[in-house]
Amino acid sequence: VDAGRDVHAVHLVRRGGGAPARLAARSRSDDGPPPLIHDVAIVGAGVVGTAIARELAQYELAVVLVDAADDVGTGTSKANTAILHTGFDATPGTLEARLVRRGHELLRAHGPRLGIPIEETGALLVAWDAEQAAALDAVAAKAAKNGYTTTRRVAADELYRLEPHLGPGAHAALAIPDEHLVCPFTTPLAYATEAVANGVELRLRTCVTGTSRAEGVHVVDTGAGAIRTRWVVNAAGLYADTIDGLFGHARFTVMPRRGELVVFDKLARGLVRHTILPVPTATTKGVLVAPTVFGNVVLGPTAEDVEDRTATETTVAGLASLLEKGRRILPALLDEEVTATYTGLRAATGHADYRIFFHPDERYVCVGGIRSTGLTASMAIAEHVVEGLRDGGLALARRARFVEIRMPNLGEAARRPYADAARIAARPDYGCIVCHCERVTRGEIVDAAHASIPARTLDGLKRRTRAGFGRCQGFYCLAEVASLLASATGQSLATLLRTP
């Protein structure tokens, strides 16, 4: 293995077998076929489903993870504000409050080992008028109720020393020193990669269409054949209510809350050190300005309830309203170029808490209503779900050997291949920058195309490497990046570009 430390484990896994299904088979017994009956089927390979898969992968179980999309983490997981929340503003006493707090701890503890970029910035909750300044004490008190006591009130003069580019008129702020940044792309990929490395079978492009029971097990019908399984975990995100309905439940409806965001050029990164949060009001958490682990600055989100679960368009009005708010928060931001805009749909349900239900009698678990806090809470949700499965009768025997993986680093806070002399010396492809805006090398693109969960699309490649993610949006590199991915994955350029 000449690819260096970061992908060492991934390569080891690939030596053990090719496709995930074969890996799964091998890890159960040396030469047996895939099981006729799985122990657990997880529906939905977002950050929640993949975290649960990874947690279950520690045990001697036959687990299958299915998703209708062609990659992991393509729904709500990929389009959010990418903040590692402390849970300071959660509703005290809720499951969400507890799991966000625990999830923060777990991601801080395990994220670095998994190669998940986390950047420690802290946040400042800025009060823009006297009323908001007066509300800061209540925010601090609520944080304390949530077990977070390290908030600190910051007076205006100190605030402007900390954030000299902040717009005029701020009265005071509340510092939340542990509100950090996390990579929303690497997180589900890391979970899924480690799950697959430990025998979980990943089935993408597999849409669940119905369920029934036969001989005491679930038969989950999919567009790609039936899956027989003892347990089903529903982590279907925006479609969690639909899957819940297949099991005869009608207790919540996902009402997607659309959030539009604007990503600014990396040249804006010097304008802001912390995440700048607004004081929450009764109606909305408001618009924030946050750095990203990639070195950009993001402005958003809007909050608009929509019916359509595929309505990931940005709107003229939404973008205009964000820019207007951004101008007040950080005026110089508006002088910088916009790199991209995107929209995320949060899986809101109208309920103030996560919708997690255990039905041991039906051998079914519903993990619904996981809103934007799900990225932070993911590992804690997984822990909670697996405890529930155990309490419901699922026998958990630890695997003798657990394969640890480490994802290639995408974050600016740690060294990336283009700057790593030793890695380039070992493999000159890491010195061959192909995507210049994001400094992605040919070596990283080839690695992503050959990973155990390979990049098969240009979007998948972006999430794994950042290629094409930058300010030129492919002006310089699209042809070369797409050609590299096409030849590495045996697809045509027309397929990758979806040329009609």
Partner: protein, 396 residues
């Protein structure tokens, strides 16, 4: 022996490097991040390159190869696949290439990093994010370098020179241009080029694209007037922005109009030892204009290497509708060059050059068109007082 590092191996960088060798500037190293030097002309198949600088008519790829050959013959060291990743302004650069990570210390640096078209995101076009959205740059590389077909029915956003080049590239690839779109009242290229290139493609004037629709692939777009146009491809053309990342990271003074580093007629920036030329300082001009601009910096670079002097300059400011001039500063210790300038909206009138309330020159300025440069002749700048205040350009 002195060493000059040229960052960017396009027409401006290569032309400057060749001229520097002719002036005996010592080591001249061109750092080019792509696999081959030559810059954007490498993927511009249309003819018309080389007229003003090489006195011949070439296609883009031949022009690019010609410059690379001339540079090699002149003894320029071209390092391809070598990206500048960090810059300790003024003259130390960090590079990454398959050979490894290196630091190069130079006596002078010329930035010739060029420009790019604003992509969809930078133009805040709303809607979904399907495949099938390109810039002319990505389109030309796919069609001319990879011989790829990109779609069947394309909307071309923009109606400036490059937009017509995009129409020709689309046609060559078997993709029909269903319309061109411009926010201005007319297209902004030369009538014959428009006639030859567009050949019946309707130009929708005074409108904008506001949203793109389609899930996997572009299906339609919405225009500002509410119209919906069916197409499977959208090409964003023109609307250039300099690739000024290094200039910004090096904290060079940036001109508010060009958004490139402020430069005088010798390409001198605000940092002694650092020069800039080409489409980094005037995004975007044809390759030969960029090359001649690069060539014109060589004398100033050589003079700096000999004397280490950095002359004082007066700023050149402009009033609306003039968007920018290049260069945008004037050093008193040498003759001025022609200035390029551009306007925001179609304009007619007289260009007035003033300094401290004193009119230095008036030039007729008829039929000014956005996205098309005009020249202020050097003679208009000869009366400038090098110790006086800023020079001001306006349209009266």
């Amino acid at each position: 022996m002195s060493r000059v590092v040229v960052i960017g191996g396009g027409p401006a960088g290569l032309a400057a490097a060749i001229e520097l060798r002719r002036h005996g500037a010592g080591d001249v190293v061109v750092l080019e991040r792509e696999a081959e030097a030559g810059g954007v002309p490498r993927h511009c198949e249309h003819p018309g390159f080389g007229l003003r600088d090489l006195h011949r008519v070439l296609g883009g790829p031949a022009y690019a190869r010609r410059y690379a050959t001339l540079a090699e013959r002149a003894g320029v060291e071209i390092r391809t696949r070598t990206a500048v990743t960090d810059w300790h302004c003024p003259t130390t650069v960090a590079t990454t290439s398959p050979r490894g990570v290196e630091t190069i210390v130079a006596d002078a640096v010329l930035l010739a990093t060029g420009c790019r078209e604003r992509p969809r995101g930078a133009r805040l076009v709303a809607g979904s994010r399907p495949a099938g959205v390109f810039t002319t740059g990505s389109l030309q590389q796919l069609v001319h370098l990879r011989h790829e077909r990109v779609g069947r029915r394309a909307l071309v956003v923009g109606a400036e020179h490059v937009s017509f080049s995009a129409v020709m590239t689309l046609r060559e690839s078997g993709c029909e241009a269903v319309a061109m779109l411009t926010e201005h009242p007319t297209h902004q290229t030369y009538a014959p080029l428009a006639w030859i290139a567009a050949r019946g493609v309707p130009i929708l004037a005074s409108t904008r694209i506001t949203a793109i629709h389609g899930r996997e692939r572009v299906e339609a777009v919405t225009l500002a007037d509410g119209r919906r146009l069916a197409c499977d491809t959208v090409v964003f053309t023109g609307d250039w922005i300099p690739d000024h990342e290094l200039a910004r990271r090096g904290a060079l003074a940036i001109d508010g109009g060009t958004r490139g580093p402020r430069v005088d007629q010798g390409g001198r920036t605000s940092a002694p030892g650092v020069f800039a030329a080409g489409n980094l300082v005037h995004a975007a001009e044809p390759a030969d204009v960029a090359a001649l601009g690069g060539r014109a910096t060589a004398a100033a670079i050589v003079a700096y290497l000999a004397t280490r002097r950095w002359p004082a300059t007066v700023a050149i400011e402009c009033a609306a509708p003039i968007r920018w001039t290049a260069p945008n500063a004037l050093a008193a210790d040498g003759p001025p060059r022609d200035l390029l300038y551009r306007v925001d909206v179609p304009s007619d009138g007289t260009l007035v050059v003033e300094q401290a309330g004193r009119v230095l020159a008036r030039v007729r300025a008829r039929g000014l068109m956005p996205n098309r440069s005009l020249r202020v002749p050097a003679r208009c700048l000869r009366p400038v007082d090098g110790a006086g205040g800023p020079v001001r350009l306006s349209i009266a």
